[in-house]
């Protein structure tokens, strides 16, 4: 039992670190990457927890902070934004008559409203830069980490089922639109980790 709790805590920590990677890069995270071996540690953690073997990230890891910023700007900051709404039909509201109501590719879809609803219910405030995109992957992963530690398993399972079913499409977009591999490799491992976590612990 204690071991399970520890592993849930460790899993939560893994998802928190993933969340950090999808946020706008800061010097703080760059220092963690370069001075505290964040990526090898993350790699070891997913291998230990879920037996996921990853390729060496050294080859894809940016060489400098500027390169990390560039990579972010060219990929998840622009060409393949990790926001759930973009990958799902905008609304299920049948009374909505907007021309794009059933189309994919638009921000503030139903999933954004749902996350905003959850955040409001739980009285969680998020940084202003994410207020318009509350279903950004960084927010979703932090919420997931929190639920893993504090919510019933069924709760967490539903959350994963509802809000992480778009990651394959996101990875495809990263691969086809950006030509840069750092965030793509991270995302592939995230997808594998998510699947393994679900089947192992939920």
């Amino acid at each position: 039992m204690i071991e399970t709790i520890d592993k849930r805590t460790e899993s939560a920590q893994v998802f928190r670190v993933f969340a950090e990677i999808y946020k706008t890069p800061t010097l703080e995270i760059w220092k963690e990457i370069t001075q505290n071996d964040l990526l090898p540690k993350l790699r070891d953690a997913v291998q230990e927890l879920y037996q996921i073997k990853t390729t060496e990230w050294k080859d894809v890891q940016p060489d400098s902070y500027d390169q990390l910023i560039s990579s972010y700007m060219a990929t998840i900051g622009k060409a393949a934004i990790p926001v759930e709404s973009l990958y799902k039909p905008w609304t299920q509201d049948e009374t909505c008559t907007l021309a794009f109501a059933r189309e994919k590719g638009y921000l503030q879809g139903d999933s954004a409203l749902h996350i905003r609803f959850i955040l409001n219910e739980m009285q969680i405030s998020i940084p202003s830069e994410y207020e318009g995109t509350p279903d950004h992957l960084a927010i979703l992963l932090e919420l997931l980490a929190y639920f893993i530690e504090h919510a019933p398993k069924s709760f967490t399972a539903e959350f994963i089922g509802d809000h992480f079913d778009w990651l394959d499409n996101f990875a495809f977009k990263l691969e086809s639109n950006t030509g840069q591999t750092f965030y793509l490799e991270i995302t592939r491992v995230l997808i594998a980790t998510m699947k393994a976590f679900r089947s192992t612990y939920l």
């Binding site: 805590t9 460790e10 920590q13 928190r16 670190v17 950090e20 706008t24 963690e32 505290n36 964040l38 540690k41 993350l42 953690a45 910023i69 700007m73 622009k78 060409a79 926001v83 709404s85 905008w90 609304t91 299920q92 509201d93 009374t95 008559t97 907007l98 021309a99 794009f100 189309e103 590719g105 638009y106 921000l107 503030q108 879809g109 409203l113 749902h114 609803f117 959850i118 219910e121 739980m122 009285q123 969680i124 405030s125 998020i126 940084p127 202003s128 830069e129 318009g132 995109t133 932090e142 919420l143 980490a145 929190y146 504090h150 919510a151 019933p152 069924s154 709760f155 959350f159 509802d162």
Partner: protein, 731 residues
């Protein structure tokens, strides 16, 4: 355990969340979601009256907002342009608010096509330092500001550049209506009239298409006119989408509209069908004009236009008989807004033709619209920067151009000459749409500072040193807009939803904050509300009332038909003879001017125009509008079957279009709806900014083929003075 200090950065703070989670119990997300859906289904729907921004019409619209998001859009029933309807562009362009391709934060260019985020404060600081340095070193005339004007920009943009001591304010009209504006301005005293279409008995459109450049009320008016039995003649090398309502299409040789209008004017006078009383009362210089017109016979015009002399005579006579309920519609760009070396003269000839019909301020004729008297800021409290000492760049070279628009491409010309050092572009993709993109790119790259304020990474933004992200029109309040017309009115654009991207700002805030950084904040010591309150003061309408209604018309101020207003020409009359022209070195009486270039037997004139689903290149990145383009292959060029046959080209073939400036590959539409000497290409395509993922790579950019040029009279872009060769190539 994954050991990292990063977890401190996390957003989720446990205490409150844990309590809330506990209170949610084991119901789980399904129940939460169900509650959410139920709550959402019953959510209050707010209606916010505002205006569209999909084109320059800015039709009134109502946003129906549910759960803080757009839920429905409808046309504002009181607005004179929408009359309860919105066009496809209006519905489609609104999606921009939720677009994934929007600019979300201020950016600084750090390499070719490479940008890094920068804070607003730092961006203001750096831009202000550069602007002030340039002004100190080269003078205020070395900085310029260009926009495609909307209500807020019309007030704030010139005020901002004037505050810096520069008169260099420009608008997109250099590739829109500069020529028409100049022709009308020096003939009837305004840059444009409107038209009482629904009551007209005979309407001629020259290049203008209500079915393509849609304003819902205009289409309704034209349909009413047709129902009432009006004759509707389209003069256009292309059978445009107003064709459904037309009674006749004159497939004129492109660039020769002036000859047609001169010859029809000739016929009116020769047949004594001109309105002598109107001419006597309200015009000057008629005798000289009539004398000049003697040589412009229908037979002469037939040789130039390709339209049979009999048709020219018949139409002119019929229009003369239908006067004053007959008119040539004033157009915007149409065929004479900026297309040919003779466009200003065509605009002038059209204004004069309408005067021959005596149709000004007549039912079914041309209308000088009334305007609501709006107030101004109290200058004692809110100082106005005033007129700069140095004249607007380009005003000496093009003294006939309307000063309110200027000649925007002079900025590029003077940049290439090393005189213009800084340029701000607001809501303007000048680099792609105003002049030849290669020239524009070179010009912008020569400047020490280029700033773009936009909602998306346009080609101009890509060339800018700083890109400042604006909120979309769905997310902002604006300055009150006066609506000119038979019944004048006012309209207000209002914020419908919260900002999607928190770091974006409305342009009035950007100008105010940048002005402070530049040390001229004293000219922006008021809020948008202060300004709007001041504007409303004389009207008797409260700001609250306007916010509720969005559009308010003033029927008690309806113009009186039959009463000519005092004209703003130097003589106060319609000028068939212009001393202004003479002083500027031009012939004071309208005359035939040859187009600058003409196609040979094996070449074509490249012409462009609108499609009903797009506005300029502004809508090219809107997925649901571009999908229509893709579904119907709308990016294709049009070629006449007779010419296609000679070239061995079949419908759908891939061809190469080659001009003096560029080579493009595109598929063809073979159609009788285009004059044999012309190739038509819609003007909405050829996006080269990879950040605009939907628009990128579709079709080719018309302007790539247009030599960088200025029409001699108005400085407009001569955008149809382009010769191309076409040949079939392998797919």
């Amino acid at each position: 355990m994954l050991d990292t200090k990063l977890s401190r950065r996390g957003f989720i703070k446990a205490s409150a969340a844990t309590a809330a989670l506990a209170s949610a119990g084991t119901a789980g997300f399904n129940q939460w979601s169900n509650n959410y859906v139920k709550a959402g289904g019953k959510a209050e729907i707010k209606e916010i009256a505002s205006t569209c921004n999909a084109c320059s019409s800015k039709c009134g619209m109502i946003g129906h907002i549910k759960n803080g998001r757009l839920w429905k859009l409808t046309g504002h029933p009181d607005h004179p342009y929408s009359k309860g309807k919105l066009c496809a562009r209006g519905h489609g362009y609104a999606t921009v608010v939720y677009s994934e391709d929007r600019l979300t934060q201020p950016l600084k260019r750090v390499g070719e096509g490479k940008f890094e985020p920068i804070t607003w404060e730092k961006a203001y600081e750096e831009i202000a330092a550069k602007l002030n340095k340039i002004i100190k070193e080269f003078g205020p005339q070395s900085v310029a500001l260009t926009e495609d004007p909307r209500a807020t920009g019309k007030f704030y943009s010139p005020r901002f550049i004037n505050a810096l001591g520069s008169a260099n304010y420009y608008t997109h009209h250099v590739v829109c209506s500069n020529a028409r504006d100049a022709g009308f301005l020096h003939t009837v005293g305004v840059t444009a009239t409107s038209a009482d279409i629904s009551n007209a008995k005979y309407i001629m459109f020259i290049g203008r298409s209500y079915g393509d450049g849609i304003r819902p009320s205009s289409v309704q008016s034209l349909a009413t006119a047709k129902d009432n039995g009006a004759k509707i003649v389209i003069v256009d090398p292309r059978l445009n989408n107003t064709g459904n309502l037309a009674t006749e299409w004159l497939a004129i040789r492109p660039g020769t509209d002036l000859a047609l209008v001169l010859a029809m004017s000739h016929v009116l006078i020769k047949e004594s069908l001109h309105d002598l009383e109107f001419i006597r009362n309200y015009t000057m210089g008629f005798e000289e004009y009539a004398k000049e017109l003697r040589k412009y016979t229908p037979e002469w015009a037939e040789g130039i236009t390709g339209i049979p002399a009999d048709s020219i005579t018949r139409i002119a006579v019929d229009m003369g008989k239908a006067k004053p309920k007959a008119l040539i519609e004033q157009s915007w760009r149409g065929a004479f807004g900026c297309n040919y070396e003779n466009s200003t003269e065509t605009g002038r000839a059209v204004a004069m033709f309408n005067a021959l019909l005596g149709n000004y301020q007549q039912k079914g004729g041309s209308i000088f619209g009334g305007k609501v008297n709006l107030g101004k800021l109290d200058e004692k409290k809110y100082p106005n920067p005033g007129e700069p000492d140095e004249p607007q760049a380009g005003s000496k070279q093009f003294p006939l151009a309307y000063k309110g628009s200027g000649v925007a491409t002079i900025v590029a010309k003077e940049a290439l000459e090393g005189k213009m050092k800084a340029a701000i572009y607001y809501h303007s993709n000048a680099a792609l749409g105003y002049g030849n993109p290669k020239v524009m790119k070179e010009a912008l790259s020569k400047m020490d500072l280029v700033v773009a304020i936009d909602v998306q990474m346009s080609e101009t933004a890509l060339l800018a040193h700083y890109v400042l992200p604006e909120v979309t029109y769905i997310e902002r309040d604006e300055v009150i807009e006066g609506l000119s017309g038979k019944i004048p009115g006012i309209a207000l654009r209002q914020q419908m939803v919260e900002k999607v991207h928190p770091q974006t700002k409305p342009v009035h805030e950007i100008y105010t904050e940048l002005a402070r950084a530049c040390g001229v904040g004293q000219y922006f010591n008021f809020t948008l509300d202060d300004l709007n309150e001041a504007m409303l003061a004389p009207t008797g309408i409260t700001y609250k009332e306007l916010k509720e209604k969005g559009t308010i018309m003033f029927p008690d101020q309806e113009i009186t038909l039959g009463e000519m207003p005092e004209l703003k020409t130097p003589s106060g009359k319609i000028e068939y003879y212009s001393e202004t022209y003479k002083a500027a070195g031009f012939k004071p009486i309208v005359e035939w001017i040859e187009p600058k270039v003409s196609p040979a037997n094996d070449s074509f004139r490249l012409i462009t125009g609108k499609q009903a689903i797009h506005s300029h290149t502004q809508t090219a990145n809107i997925p649901i509008l571009m999908q229509i383009t893709k579904d119907y292959d709308l990016e294709r060029i049009w070629i006449n079957p007779a010419r296609a046959k000679v070239l061995g080209i079949k419908d759908g073939d891939l061809v190469e279009v080659k001009s003096s400036e560029a080579v493009s590959k595109i598929r063809v539409k073979v159609t009788e709806r285009i004059h044999p000497e012309a190739i038509f290409v819609p003007s909405h395509y050829g996006i080269t900014s990879k950040d605009l993922k939907t628009g990128y790579g579709i079709g080719f950019g018309y302007m790539e083929h247009v030599p960088f040029d200025f029409e001699k009279w108005s400085g407009s872009g001569n955008i149809h003075e382009v010769i191309v060769n076409v040949r079939k190539v392998k797919s």
